[in-house]
C-alpha cells in the first residue's frame, strides 16, 4: 500500500511540474534580468556634440533593451592613460559587456585582452584597436567615409591643386582609416599633389594655427581636409580670417553649429557626417545581443553621409546635423 501511494503521488507531482513548466514556458521568460553595460567613450567633453549624440543613442538603446548603462569618458581624446584606467575600473565592476571607443590604436590592446579574458563581452565603438578580439565593431566605415571626403574634394576642385590633411591625433584608428580613404581617392591623380598629414595634438586652436600656416606658406593650396570636427572648424576659421573661401576648398568631418555656419557661409564646401546616434544605439544593442548569445555581425557599419550647403536643410539631414543635445 504505501509503495503504491508513493508511486501515485510521484506521478501526480511529475504531471504538475510538467504542467507548470508548460504554462511558464509558453509565456516565455520575459522577466530577464537587466544587463549591465559600461560604455567608455573617448571624451566626456560636453562641447563635442558627436559624443553627446552618441550617448543619446546609448541611452535610447538602454531604455529599449532594458539595460543598465554607465557611460564613462576619458578627459579628452589624447588621454590614453586615463582611458586605460577607466577600462581597468570597469573590469573590476564586472559588467556583462564593455563598449569601448578606443583612443589609441595600439596601447589599448593589452587591457582589451584582459577584458575578454575576464569573460566580459567587448564591443568596439567608433574607433578600433589593432586586434581582432572584440565581439563586434560598431563604427562608421572610416575608410569609406574618407573616400567620400576625397570624392567631395574632387567635385570642388577643378584643375591642379595641392591638398593637405589635418588630423586630430596620431594613432586613432578612425582618423587613420579616413586619411587612407581620402588618399585612396586623391593620390595618383596627375593634377593633384598630396601634402603631408598634419597632426594638431587634439586642439582646435592648433588646427587653426596649422591651417593658417599651411595657407600662408603655400599660396597655391586649394584643398584642405579636416578629419574631424575641431580640425575642420580650425581650418575654417583660418580660411574665413584670410578671406580665402573662394580659393580654398575645405572638406570636413562631423557636424557642429560652427561647421554649419561654415557651410552656410560657404567656407566649408562639404562635411562627411557619421551617424553617432546609430552608433551609440547599435553598440548597446549589439552588446545586449552578444551577452544573450545571439549571433552578431563582426563588423557593423553605421554609414556616413556627405552634407553640402544644398542638402543641409533637407528634412532627413536636419536631424543629423542639428541634434537636440543639451537643450
Amino acid at each position: 500500500m504505501p509503495w503504491r501511494h508513493k508511486w501515485f503521488i510521484g506521478a501526480i507531482i511529475v504531471l504538475l511540474v510538467v504542467v507548470a513548466g508548460l504554462v511558464y514556458w509558453s509565456e516565455g521568460f520575459s522577466n530577464k534580468k537587466p544587463l549591465n553595460v559600461t560604455v567608455i567613450i573617448k571624451s566626456h567633453d560636453a562641447s563635442i556634440e558627436f559624443w553627446q549624440v552618441l550617448v543619446d543613442g546609448v541611452h535610447e538603446a538602454a531604455q529599449e533593451f532594458d539595460t543598465k548603462v554607465e557611460v564613462w569618458g576619458a578627459r579628452d581624446e589624447t588621454d590614453v592613460e586615463g582611458q586605460i584606467a577607466l577600462v581597468e575600473k570597469a573590469i573590476v565592476n564586472r559588467p556583462d559587456a564593455i563598449v569601448l571607443a578606443a583612443t589609441d590604436f595600439d596601447r589599448l590592446i593589452p587591457i582589451c585582452n584582459k577584458v575578454v579574458a575576464k569573460g566580459i563581452k567587448l564591443i568596439i565603438l567608433d574607433s578600433g584597436i589593432n586586434s581582432n578580439i572584440a565581439q563586434s565593431i560598431v563604427s562608421t566605415d572610416n575608410f569609406k567615409a574618407g573616400q567620400e571626403a576625397g570624392q567631395a574634394m574632387l567635385q570642388e576642385i577643378k584643375g591642379p591643386a595641392k591638398i593637405g590633411i589635418l588630423s586630430y591625433v596620431k594613432n586613432a584608428a578612425s582618423h587613420i582609416d579616413r586619411e587612407k580613404g581620402a588618399r585612396d581617392v586623391l593620390s595618383g591623380l596627375p593634377y593633384i599633389e598630396m601634402l603631408d598629414t598634419y597632426f594638431v595634438e587634439g586642439s582646435e586652436q592648433k588646427a587653426y594655427l596649422k591651417a593658417k600656416e599651411i595657407l600662408q606658406s603655400n599660396t597655391e593650396v586649394l584643398g584642405i581636409i579636416g578629419l574631424n570636427e575641431p580640425t575642420s572648424v580650425g581650418a575654417g576659421r583660418a580660411i574665413r580670417e584670410l578671406g580665402m573661401k573662394d580659393k580654398v576648398k575645405l572638406i570636413g568631418f562631423d557636424s557642429s553649429v560652427n561647421e554649419i555656419k561654415l557651410l552656410d557661409e560657404g567656407v566649408m564646401k562639404a562635411t562627411v557626417i557619421q551617424r553617432p546616434f546609430q552608433m551609440g544605439y547599435l553598440s548597446v544593442k549589439t552588446a545586449v545581443e552578444a551577452v544573450r548569445g545571439k549571433k552578431i555581425q563582426k563588423q557593423i557599419d553605421t554609414g556616413s553621409l556627405v552634407i553640402t550647403k544644398e542638402n543641409m536643410y533637407e528634412e532627413e539631414n536636419q536631424k543629423l546635423l542639428f541634434p537636440f543635445v543639451g537643450k
Binding site: 546616434f277 544605439y281 536631424k319
Partner: protein, 593 residues
C-alpha cells in the same frame, strides 16, 4: 503488482480521473481569468494612454492657439499694415519710429513666453522686424527657399503650421522650432504685404513628449497629415531604417487604437488627431501594458498549484472512503473463496456498496443452503444405493435359488445345476461390478436375463419371458438394478398368484430425448387402490412388496430429475405394465455430478 493492474484499481482510477478533471478545470479557469485580468488591465492602460495623448493634444493646441492669436493680432494691426504697405518713408526717423512701434508690439507678445523663440514680420518690401531686437538675418539664407515662407504664400492668408525644423534665417542661430507662418495683406485684401512668423521653441514640446513614457519602453510620436514625422524620440533610427512605425495605418484612422502584429514585441498605437492636421500617436508595448504580468502569471500558476495539491489530497481521501468498503467486501469474498461460508459481511452505510454487501450475504447464505442440500442428497443417494444392493441380494431369493440348486443336484440334473449356478454367479458379478452407479442398458439387460433364467428354471413352465430391446438403445446408460425389483414384483405378485403359465415381456422405445423401457406381465394385475399407493413413500414402510420398486422410482428421480421415474398401468386379472422413463445419455457418470 504491475503498473497496469494498479491502473485498473478503482481508487487509482478515481484519483486519476478526478485529478485530471480538477487539473483541467483549474488550468482553464486560471488561464481564462489570467487573460480576463490581462484584458482588463490592458484596456485600463489603453484608456490611460488615450487620456494622456488627449491631454498632450490639448497642450499642443493651446500652444498653437496662442500662436494663432498672435498672428491675428499682427495681421490686423494698423501699424503693421501701414509699415509694410509703404514703399518709402517720409524720413528715416519716421521709418525708425514705425519699426519701433511694431517691434514693441511683437516684443510685448514675447513677454513671459519662454516657449516662443521669436515673433517676426518679413515685409515684401524688404523690411524685417523681430520681437527680439538682437536677432539679425542670416545673410546666406534665401527666404524663398524655406518651406514655412513658401507655404504661407501658398495658403493666402491662412495660418500654416510647419513641422519641427531647423530655423536658419537668423544669424548664428539654428534652433529647432515649430513655425506658424501667415501671409499678411492689406485690409482690403488687394495687396500682399509680407509674411508673419512665430517660432515655437521645439525643445519645449520635445521635453513635453520626451517625458511621456508609456510603460518601460513606450513613447509618443507625431506625424503630420502627409505622414512626415514631426516628432519622434528615435527619429534617427527611423530615417536609417533601424526602426519602423506603422505610419500608413496611423494615417488611415482618425482617432482610435490598433495593435501591430509583431509577436512579443507587438505595439499598441493610440492615435489622436489634432485640429491642424497632426496626429499624436502613443505607442506602448503590449507585453508591458500589464506591468506586473509576470507576478500575475506566477501567482495564477502558484494558486493553481496549491488548488491542485489540495484537490489531490481531497480526492485521495474521498476515493479511499469509497473504495475502502469495497476492499473490505473483497477480503470477505476471499474468505468465501477459501471455503468459509460462515461469514456475515457488516453492511456499510454507503448505499451501493451496502446493497452489494447485502446481496453478497444473501448469496453466501444461499450457497450454504445449497451445499447442505447437496450433502443430504448425496447421503440419500448412498442410502438408496444401499437399498438397491440389499434388494438385489434378497436373501429369500438366494435361499430359494440355492434350494432349487440343491433340489436339482439331488435329481442329478447336473446340466441345469451348472446353468443356474453360472447364471447366479453372473447375476452377482454384474451387480457388484465396479460399484459404478450408471451402467449401459446392455449390462442391465444381461443382468435381468440371468435373473429371469434362474427364475424360469425354478418355476418351469409357469414362467416364460421375452426380451425385445432394439439395438439402437443398447449403449445408452441407465442406473443399475432397476429392472430386477420390477421383474421380481411381476413374478411374485403377478404371475405366481395366477393360474396357468405367465409371460414377462421386456421391451424398449425411444423418443427424441428419452428412453422408455417397459415390463409387461400377464399376471393378476392390481386394483386401483394398490396402483395408487404403490409409488407413495408410505408403502416403503410396509414390509416386503413394493420396497424395491419404490427405491427404483426414487433413484431415477434423484439421478435424472423429478420428471423421470416409473409409471404403472394395470388391469385386474389381465396384467400389469411398468414404464421406466429416463433420458438418453451416453456419459458414464452423469448422475454423480
Amino acid at each position: 503488482m504491475s503498473i497496469f493492474s494498479r491502473l485498473r484499481s478503482i481508487q487509482t482510477n478515481m484519483v486519476l480521473s478526478s485529478v485530471l478533471l480538477i487539473l483541467m478545470t483549474i488550468m482553464i479557469v486560471s488561464v481564462i481569468s489570467y487573460y480576463l485580468t490581462k484584458d482588463a488591465v490592458q484596456s485600463k492602460a489603453q484608456e490611460y494612454t488615450t487620456e494622456l495623448v488627449k491631454q498632450i493634444n490639448n497642450n499642443i493646441k493651446s500652444y498653437v492657439n496662442g500662436m494663432n492669436y498672435m498672428s491675428d493680432l499682427v495681421a490686423g494691426n494698423p501699424f503693421v499694415q501701414d509699415y509694410l504697405s509703404k514703399e518709402t518713408f517720409a524720413s528715416l526717423k519716421q521709418e525708425k519710429e514705425s519699426k519701433e512701434s511694431i517691434s514693441t508690439l511683437l516684443e510685448s507678445m514675447l513677454v513671459s513666453r519662454t516657449d516662443i523663440t521669436s515673433v517676426n514680420v518679413f515685409g515684401y518690401n524688404g523690411q524685417f522686424v523681430s520681437g527680439r531686437k538682437e536677432l539679425e538675418l542670416n545673410p546666406y539664407i534665401d527666404l524663398t527657399s524655406l518651406n514655412w515662407y513658401r507655404n504661407a504664400q501658398e495658403a493666402h492668408g491662412q495660418s500654416v503650421i510647419s513641422p519641427s525644423h531647423i530655423q536658419p534665417v537668423f544669424k548664428d542661430r539654428y534652433p529647432w522650432v515649430v513655425s506658424l507662418s501667415r501671409e499678411l495683406s492689406s485690409r482690403d485684401g488687394s495687396k500682399k504685404l509680407g509674411v508673419f512668423l512665430v517660432d515655437l521653441n521645439f525643445s519645449v514640446m520635445n521635453d513635453m513628449f520626451k517625458d511621456v513614457r508609456l510603460g518601460q519602453r513606450g513613447y509618443l510620436f507625431i506625424v503630420d497629415s502627409s505622414g512626415k514625422i514631426v516628432y519622434h524620440p528615435q527619429q534617427q533610427l527611423i530615417y536609417s531604417k533601424l526602426k519602423y512605425e506603422m505610419i500608413d495605418r496611423v494615417l488611415e484612422i482618425k482617432n482610435g487604437t490598433f495593435t501591430s502584429n509583431e509577436g512579443s514585441n507587438s505595439r499598441m498605437y493610440t492615435v489622436q488627431e489634432s485640429d491642424f492636421g497632426w496626429k499624436i500617436v502613443g505607442v506602448s508595448y503590449v507585453n508591458e501594458l500589464v506591468s506586473n504580468q509576470n507576478e500575475m502569471r506566477l501567482s495564477y500558476v502558484g494558486l493553481g498549484f496549491i488548488c491542485i495539491v489540495i484537490a489531490i489530497i481531497i480526492s485521495f481521501f474521498l476515493s479511499q472512503r469509497v473504495s475502502q468498503p469495497i476492499k473490505q467486501l473483497q477480503s470477505y469474498m476471499k474468505e468465501v473463496e477459501k471455503g468459509n461460508f460462515d461469514i456475515h459481511v457488516p453492511v456499510p452505510k454507503t448505499t451501493e456498496v451496502g446493497r452489494l454487501a447485502r446481496a453478497f450475504n444473501i448469496m453466501v447464505g444461499k450457497i450454504k443452503e445449497l451445499m447442505n442440500q447437496v450433502v443430504s442428497d448425496q447421503e440419500q443417494k448412498r442410502k438408496s444405493e444401499m437399498n438397491a444392493l440389499q434388494a438385489q441380494i434378497n436373501p429369500h431369493f438366494l435361499y430359494n435359488t440355492l434350494d432349487s440348486i440343491v433340489w436339482m443336484a439331488e435329481s442329478n440334473k447336473s446340466k441345469e445345476v451348472v446353468l443356474m449356478t453360472s447364471a447366479l454367479a453372473k447375476l452377482f458379478r454384474a451387480s457388484i461390478s465396479k460399484g459404478e452407479e450408471l451402467v449401459s442398458i446392455r449390462t442391465e439387460i444381461e443382468h435381468i436375463t440371468n435373473y429371469l433364467m434362474i427364475q424360469k428354471m425354478r418355476y418351469k413352465n409357469k414362467l416364460d419371458y421375452q426380451i425385445e430391446i432394439s439395438d439402437s438403445v443398447w449403449d445408452y446408460k441407465t442406473i443399475k438394478v432397476i429392472l430386477q425389483p420390477i421383474v421380481e414384483n411381476a413374478i411374485y405378485h403377478g404371475i405366481k398368484m395366477k393360474h396357468g403359465p405367465g409371460l414377462i415381456r421386456i421391451a424398449s422405445e425411444e423418443t427424441e430425448t428419452d428412453i422408455h423401457l417397459f415390463i409387461e406381465d400377464n399376471g393378476n394385475g392390481m386394483d386401483e387402490e394398490k396402483l395408487r399407493t404403490l409409488l407413495l413413500p408410505i408403502s416403503r414402510s410396509e414390509a416386503g412388496r413394493g420396497v424395491g420398486v419404490q427405491n427404483v422410482h426414487e433413484r431415477l428421480k434423484l439421478y435424472f430429475g423429478p420428471q423421470y421415474g416409473l409409471t404403472y398401468k394395470s388391469t385386474l386379472g389381465v396384467g400389469t405394465t411398468v414404464y421406466i422413463r429416463f433420458p438418453k445419455s451416453l456419459q458414464s457418470s452423469e448422475g454423480e455430478k
